[in-house]
């Protein structure tokens, strides 16, 4: 689950690894679709007078990806700290039995 940066875990079996990889792929695809939707709305005006991406739009898209990742990272950290507060002493610091 590297996209979410949830850190390392105990050794999983092969089947668990495959399931985790499939889940990760689905998750990353979903995130990319959401990012695309958000960045399109933020950066592309809807009158479409030309088909090319102009300079301003291109720069905006690049920064949009960077900022989306930063927000994702920040919220991932936030969720982990929430999790640790909730199950202080009980668990391994991962979220909700995530991945493997």
């Amino acid at each position: 689950m590297s996209f979410l940066g949830f850190g390392s875990r105990p050794q999983p079996t092969s089947a668990q690894k495959i399931a985790a990889a499939e889940q990760e792929l689905e998750m990353v695809t979903d995130m990319f679709n959401r990012l695309t939707e958000s960045c399109r709305k933020k950066c592309l005006p809807t009158d479409y007078r030309e088909g090319e991406l102009n300079k301003g739009e291109s720069v905006c898209l690049d920064r949009c990806v960077g900022k989306f990742f930063e927000v994702n990272m920040k919220i991932s950290e936030f969720m982990q700290s929430q999790q640790q507060n909730a199950m202080a002493g009980g668990g391994s610091g991962r979220i909700g039995g995530f991945g493997a």
Binding site: L4, Q23, M27, D30, M31, R34, E37, S38, K41, K42, C43, V59, C60, R63, C64, G66, K67, F68, E70, V71, N72, K74, I75, F78, M79, Q82, I95, G96, G97, F98
Partner: protein, 70 residues
């Protein structure tokens, strides 16, 4: 698990949409940063509250006009 991921992705997308509106600079500003933290905090508190009210309302509905068997 899938529900958690949907909730998480919604959280990221909503807080991004509401808080990040300046693309003249590359860096996330201090103001944007605190907006994201507040957004996530409030979102979690709201979800919790909505979850409680939802369960209460659902229970009340089942007792009221709902099916007896199931």
């Amino acid at each position: 698990m899938k529900d958690f991921m949907t909730m998480y992705s919604n959280l990221v997308q909503n807080c991004f949409n509401d808080c990040i509106n300046d693309f003249t600079s590359k860096a996330v500003s201090a103001k944007e940063n605190s907006c994201v933290t507040n957004c996530a905090t409030k979102f979690m508190k709201a979800s919790e509250r909505l979850g409680m009210r939802f369960q209460e309302a659902n229970a009340a509905m089942m007792q009221g006009g709902g099916a007896p068997g199931k």
